[in-house]
């Protein structure tokens, strides 16, 4: 009993230290967002915003097109997450559960796609989308993001599917369900944590991407939040306070999304435990 308590204390202590070290830059960003200019540039760091101000947030929110850009980012991201989960689930099923001619080629393709540096493809992708009239449109950006999110999501879901013991799936087939029905009903809940992890990944990739959105979207009312954020670092100096405030606001939806899906992780865990 004593060693169990001591173990718990040690682990909690380590966890607290690790938490503090990892989160410090995030804390610095949020606290700077609430500090007035004189505190941001103080000679001795001001550790806690003792004189908090909302002026940075006010400045950030009232910059042009803020709400339009929030809407754009939300649309792009929700579509990318939904579509990538759907397409990746299907493709991962194929890879994990079927043997078919061309399977290896498909694997090499999706791995290879991730190795291509995005920056080198800016102009060629722009040309292709321009021909399809997808420049300056959210759908053009969505399709581009899908291309870069799919390989990873397919691969990861396949990995999670492989981790599920075969006999479960086979057991369900005895009572006459179709194979696909077995996939959906049995496999899906079991790879719950995998779905959550990949959806968070897709969300973050799409939410934070900058250069493609910048090049593909011209109209400032169509841009995403990360491009909006870049307007704070003009060539006339960085407005640190408003930048940190804008950054905090930009990071918020991801956190909300995580909190929303956090229950699903728990669901996946308990589902796994109940299966006896």
């Amino acid at each position: 009993m004593r060693t169990r308590r001591a173990r718990r204390v040690v682990f909690n202590g380590v966890a607290l230290f690790v938490f503090a070290a990892m989160v410090f830059p995030v804390y610095w960003m949020v606290s700077t967002a609430f500090k007035p200019g004189s505190d941001i540039f103080a000679n001795t760091p001001v550790w806690f915003p003792w004189h908090p101000t909302l002026s940075n947030f006010d400045n950030a929110i009232h910059r042009p097109h803020f709400w339009a850009d929030v809407k754009n980012s939300l649309i792009i991201v929700s579509v990318v997450v939904a579509l990538s989960l759907l397409l990746a689930f299907l493709a991962a099923l194929a890879l994990a559960k079927f043997r078919f001619y061309g399977r290896r080629a498909f694997i090499v393709l999706i791995i290879g796609v991730q190795m291509i540096p995005l920056n080198a493809l800016i102009i060629p992708i722009y040309l292709v989308l321009s021909k399809a009239h997808q420049v300056d449109k959210l759908s053009g950006v969505i399709v581009t993001y899908l291309t870069f999110v799919l390989p990873f999501t397919i691969w990861t879901l396949r990995g999670f599917m492989l981790g599920v013991p075969r006999d479960l799936e086979e057991a369900s087939q005895v009572d006459g369900t179709t194979r696909f029905g077995a996939f959906v009903r049995i496999l899906l809940p079991l790879i719950g944590p995998g779905l959550v992890a990949t959806s968070i990944f897709a969300f973050i990739q799409a939410w934070n991407e900058y250069i493609m959105a910048y090049v593909l979207l011209h109209d400032p009312s169509k841009q995403t939040l990360t491009v909006w954020l870049a307007s704070f670092t003009g060539d006339r100096g960085t407005a640190w306070g408003p930048l940190m405030a804008g950054a905090t606001l930009t990071a918020l939806p991801v956190v909300i999304f995580f909190v929303a899906v956090q229950r699903k992780i728990a669901f996946g865990l308990t589902a796994g435990a109940v299966r006896g």
Binding site: G37, S38, H133, L138, L188, H218, R236, W240
Partner: protein, 430 residues
């Protein structure tokens, strides 16, 4: 139940995709709109001028949409290149005056006739040159910027400097006095000079009779930063920096902007542009209250030659119409509205040097801006080589300065290797 969830997701995705293509709307260039790319500087610094230009333009072209898209300096050219490649170029684009040569030489702009534009007979010579190539005119001057020494009146007084320096020797003497008085504070600089501020280093080179590059009779460009005059100037620059400045030797004049540590009293002076003045106490990004302005002053950097100022870099921007723009006439009309006297006056009042000498008097009485306009009397400009922008993009001059100031290389050796690299880039086939 799971199937229902999946169906719901698919439906939502379909709806959202439909929404995105719908809200996308066809904002493509059409005869009923004009697309303008200018930098965020206009959005933050002189929004009134933009509004005035739009109003004037709309009077002449009612029903035409003005689509202003603000760009940031560090990424605009990638976007512009992609747009050019896809024939998606804007109708008006702002370029830095040292970037125009590259695009003019490549044929990116349509020619323009000066007489169609307001105040063209009194355009600033330096800016007009940056818009000319092979005898033709390709863009319209927008605004210029000159640098001067921004200083703390109270610190100068406290160190016993009774008169502002008018020669370089006096400047050095003043600096020494300041270091004697305040130098014990390890953060203090008499003259804050970031090591990679090549604009100031080149001012030294120009003052001592050197140049960055020259064009030979055979049309080939040759770097000249290792000429005896340039090496002498750089040696003097090095000794000044090591004596009077505690700024970083690996960063340039924009990272960070000196205005912030200036507001924290970490220096008595620095060389900056006119627009850096209000940034010191600008509450959105500055670090000092408005009352700080009373302690500030400015004067042109003195030359080592009596009666002159050290040549300052004449920075600025120009406005061009890309050759494959869809609405060239509308673009031209917008530029006319934006460079008209009323709009240009607002641009000048924001702390810039206007594109015409006719409006030089706008800032003449403003003690915060007048010294910068005065300093522009002696100026230098980047070589008009088509590949000069590539030299700047390689940052080789900045790295040369860091090597010199950190003693990694001797002045002569650093200048020589930078020169070799510069010559290679200048003559690379474009």
């Amino acid at each position: 139940m799971k199937l229902r969830i999946i169906a719901a997701i698919v439906l939502a995705a379909a709806l959202a995709t439909a929404a995105s293509t719908a809200t996308g709307g066809t904002r493509r260039a059409s005869a009923s709109s004009v697309t303008v790319w200018v930098m965020t500087d206009a959005q933050n610094g002189w929004p009134g001028a933009i509004a005035a230009a739009n109003a004037a333009f709309q009077k002449k072209h009612p029903g035409v949409d003005v689509n202003i898209q603000y760009q940031s300096w560090d990424t605009v050219l990638q976007k512009f290149d992609a747009a050019l490649a896809a024939n998606d170029a804007p109708d008006v684009i702002e370029l830095g005056n040292s970037q125009t040569v590259k695009y003019m030489a490549a044929g990116a702009f349509s020619t323009i006739k000066a007489k169609n534009y307001p105040n063209s007979s009194t355009w600033l010579g330096g800016l007009k040159t940056s818009c000319s190539y092979n005898g033709k005119l390709y863009c319209v001057p927008y605004y210029a910027g000159a640098r001067a020494v921004i200083y703390r009146k109270d610190m100068y007084r406290a160190a016993g400097i009774k008169r502002l320096p008018t020669t370089y020797a006096q400047f050095l003497a003043a600096g020494n006095k300041l270091m004697k008085k305040f130098g014990k504070n390890k953060n203090f600089s008499a003259f804050y000079e970031p090591g990679q501020n090549w604009y100031v280093a080149t001012s030294f080179i120009e003052d001592w009779g050197g140049q960055l590059a020259v064009r030979g009779k055979n049309g080939k460009w040759k770097g000249t930063v290792d000429s005896p005059q340039a090496v002498k100037a750089l040696t003097i620059f090095k000794s000044m920096v090591l004596k009077l400045s505690r700024a970083s030797k690996t960063q340039d004049e924009a990272h960070p902007f000196p205005s912030i540590p200036f507001a924290k009293s970490r220096m008595a002076s620095f060389i900056g542009n006119g627009w850096e003045w209000p940034y010191v106490f600008n509450p959105a990004g500055g670090a000092a209250p408005k009352s700080f302005e009373k302690k500030m002053g400015a004067y042109p950097m003195p030359s080592h030659i009596k009666g002159r100022f050290m040549p300052t870099f004449l920075g600025g921007s120009d406005l061009g119409i890309p050759i494959n723009a869809k609405n060239k006439q509308l673009g031209a009309d917008w530029i006319k509205a934006f460079t008209s006297t009323p709009a240009m006056t607002l641009i000048a009042k924001a702390g810039n040097i206007p594109n015409t000498t006719k409006l030089a008097s706008v800032n003449a009485k403003n003690p915060a801006l007048a010294p910068f306009a005065r300093a522009s009397k002696y100026s230098w400009f980047t070589p008009s080589a088509p590949n000069w922008t590539n030299v700047e993009n390689s940052h080789l001059l900045k790295q040369m300065l860091t090597a010199i100031l950190t003693n990694k290389k001797s002045v002569a050796a650093a200048a020589h290797s930078a020169n070799k690299q510069m010559t290679k880039i200048l003559n690379a086939s474009s």
